[in-house]
């Protein structure tokens, strides 16, 4: 069974159709990159998968390990193993990062019928993961993303992913706003989690990230549909030639 199976997905936001019959299948162990020009529907796809309010399908289906995700609330999708790394991680004043991480992890474990982690167990886990990602302990004691730089926010997303160990991670323009050093740290974090049991959907505008997270499959998304699929060389092609031809193709 595929990890993620999207068939003929149509999504309209405020009456305007953004996704127009999108098909995508991601198997465990695969890394799929979705590239496309601005406004092609990349972030909409990410939000639909995570279950943001207002991002409802008008047609089509999305199955995550065989289950219809539209029957599941955002927290249920997360507990089932779906993770979205936000393009713009939110600042949550007053909620300490450590509390947030523990609440999230234990809520997921509880929903899966697993025992909640004790404080020492949790601290050990979070320290290990933070260390690998070069995240300072001090950052974990601050309110979630408040006063964090762009790079720190993105690293915090990867920290959450590493801690929550999802079955499928969707990374929405995780490379935007990162300098090359931060990009490498983020990519290492992702590569470290690559495994035969896990899948990734890496959404990006630029090919640069894919030098570090090498995809198995590259898709071009334009005007709400996947218009081309290829191997990692497709990303290089796009980098060299731009998206112009896909804009026309989709318009035609």
């Amino acid at each position: 069974m595929a990890l993620l199976e999207i068939n003929n997905l149509h999504v309209a936001i405020d009456g305007k159709e953004i996704l127009k019959g999108l098909d995508l299948t991601v198997n465990a162990g695969e890394v799929h990159a979705i590239m496309g020009p601005n406004g092609s529907g990349k972030s909409t796809l990410a939000y639909v998968l995570a279950g943001k309010a207002g991002y409802q399908p008008t047609a089509g289906e999305v199955r995550f390990e065989g289950r219809n995700i539209f029957d599941m609330k955002p927290d249920e999708r997360a507990a089932a193993g779906l993770f979205l790394a936000f393009q713009y991680p939110l600042e949550i004043p007053g909620v300490v990062t450590m509390t947030f991480l523990r609440t999230a992890l234990n809520a997921q474990r509880k929903k899966r019928g697993e025992a909640e982690l004790t404080t020492p167990e949790f601290l050990k886990r979070v320290r290990e993961v933070a260390k690998k990602l070069g995240i300072d302990q001090e950052m974990l004691r601050r309110a979630v993303n408040v006063g964090f730089s762009g790079g720190e926010k993105k690293r915090n997303e990867i920290l959450q992913m590493a801690l929550l160990e999802p079955r499928l991670a969707v990374l929405d323009e995780t490379d935007s706003g990162l300098d090359i050093d931060a990009l490498k740290v983020v990519a290492e974090g992702v590569n470290h989690l690559r495994s035969p049991q896990r899948g990734f959907v890496v959404i990006t505008h630029y090919q640069r990230l894919l030098n570090y997270i090498v995809p198995d499959v590259v898709h071009v998304l334009s005007r709400g549909r996947i218009v081309k699929t290829g191997g990692k060389e497709l990303a290089l092609e796009l980098e060299a030639r731009g998206y112009a031809e896909y804009r026309e193709e989709a318009a035609a």
Partner: protein
């Protein structure tokens, strides 16, 4: 022109009756008796405050107070026994308890042994009975003259705490004034006086609680003198029962280079009015004035604050947060006054209300009156619902909706509660918040 004759309400008539009956046996010397008379005259003239009085616009006591309960009789053994388990609102904070049941000091429930050096305390009833000179020097000196709620307290005050902290004394153990109401439908008028001499340090906790069902009325007032370079924390917790009417006043005068932290936590009571009248008399004092209100159902909670900067160079921070569910109604009125002599004042006030229901109402009224030209003052007020984007972010990490909301509400109130310096008390209040949120789900 014919004089407008205001018809007295049942509550006003009953209060006049109560005073006429009690007048002969109310304690105090001639000076106190004269204060009582003058205060009652003000009430007789003005009546209960109502919505046409600007300061009471949102808390129309004349309409909200349908009757006035008789003065509480001294607590019986059963009431005292129940009061033994009171005080849970402050968690396991180790404090010196001074317990008042139905407005009367109960020595056998209180901890008056082994007083720290420099700390002296007694009951107001005792101080009135033997005309303690501390009353002549301080009582009624800070309470605003025109306030009818305070006037009623002055006219009918029966008991309370009288506390003196000698210059330079550091009182490590917090003092907990614990006011407990029993089940009887009665009114209590408690009045306390706290004099903290220069360089002394003390933390005062004032909590009010009563049975969940019990139609009682509390009018409490505390006059607080903070000497130069003293450090005083005052934390007030209103955990009254669901049918109670609670009106209370903190009137404080703060000396130079002092530290003053006040926190008002309101979770109980049917109708609550917290009044704070703070006067910055000495220069270069730093004050943090905060509050958190957490109400639901048809609860009404009003916090009215006047921070009067008289001396130069003081810094005050006011942060008041309210969370409302059901048809609850919160009011915040905050006025910062900067007098001509109060140059270099740095005063910032923020009030925020979080509405969890479409039927809740929050009224925020911040005001600045500035008569000096070299000051930094500001205020802000917001009212709104929970942020859906933040909620989605939390849910996308696997946190169920109710828990995500609870986390955001705790964070919202946390900003105010974090201002309490005592860690144990901070935790106790966050526990109360968590319990409130738990009951909501």
């Amino acid at each position: 022109m014919a004089e407008v004759k205001v018809i007295k309400t049942a509550a006003e008539t009953a209060l006049a009756h109560t005073y006429a009956q009690a007048r002969g046996r109310l304690s105090g010397d001639d000076a106190i008796a004269a204060q009582r008379e003058a205060a009652f005259d003000l009430f007789a003239k003005e009546g209960l405050p109502h919505r046409r009085i600007e300061d009471w616009k949102y808390t129309d006591l004349r309409a909200l107070m349908r009757d006035a309960k008789p003065l509480a009789s001294p607590p019986d053994a059963a009431a005292k026994a129940r009061a033994r388990t009171a005080g849970k609102l402050i968690g396991d904070v180790e404090a010196r308890r001074l317990v008042f049941v139905d407005g009367a000091f109960v020595p056998e429930l209180s901890d008056t042994a082994d007083l720290e050096r420099g700390l002296s305390l007694r009951s107001l009833a005792d101080a009135l009975a033997d005309a303690d000179p501390v009353l002549t020097a301080h009582l009624g000196k800070l309470a605003p003259a025109g306030d009818v709620a305070v006037a009623l307290n002055t006219a009918l005050m029966g008991d309370g705490a009288v506390i003196h902290i000698a210059a330079g004394s550091i009182i490590e153990r917090p003092l907990h004034l614990l006011f407990v109401a029993s089940e009887k439908p009665a009114a209590t008028f408690v009045r306390s006086l706290v004099v903290v001499e220069p360089r002394a340090r003390v933390m005062l906790i004032e909590s009010h609680e009563g049975p969940a069902t019990g139609d009682y009325q509390v009018n409490a007032a505390l006059e607080l003198f903070v000497g130069d370079e003293a450090h005083v924390d005052h934390v007030k917790i209103v955990g009254e029962g669901g049918e109670a009417l609670h009106v209370s006043t903190l009137a404080a005068a703060i000396g130079a280079r002092a530290r003053f932290n006040a926190f008002t936590f309101t979770a109980g009571g049917a109708v609550v009015r917290n009044q704070l009248f703070l006067r910055f008399d000495g220069e270069d004092t730093v004050a943090s004035i905060r509050g958190a209100t957490l109400i639901k159902g048809r609860q009404h909670a009003d916090t009215t604050l006047v921070a009067d900067h008289i001396a130069r160079g003081c810094q005050s921070r006011e942060v008041f947060k309210a969370v409302l569910d059901g048809e609850a109604h919160s009011v915040f009125q905050g006025r910062i006054i900067v007098r001509p002599g109060a140059q270099k004042t740095d005063a910032k006030m923020m009030t925020r209300a979080l509405l969890l229901s479409d039927r809740a109402e929050a009224d925020n009224k911040p005001e600045l009156e500035i008569f000096a030209d070299d000051v930094q003052c500001g205020h802000g007020a917001t009212a709104g619902a929970l942020d859906d984007e933040l909620k989605f972010y939390l849910m996308a990490r696997g946190i169920p909706e109710a828990q995500a909301e609870a986390l955001l509400i705790q964070a919202f109130l946390g900003e105010a509660i974090e201002g309490i310096e005592h860690a144990g008390l901070r935790e106790a209040l966050m526990e109360t918040v968590a319990a409130w949120l738990g009951a909501r789900q």
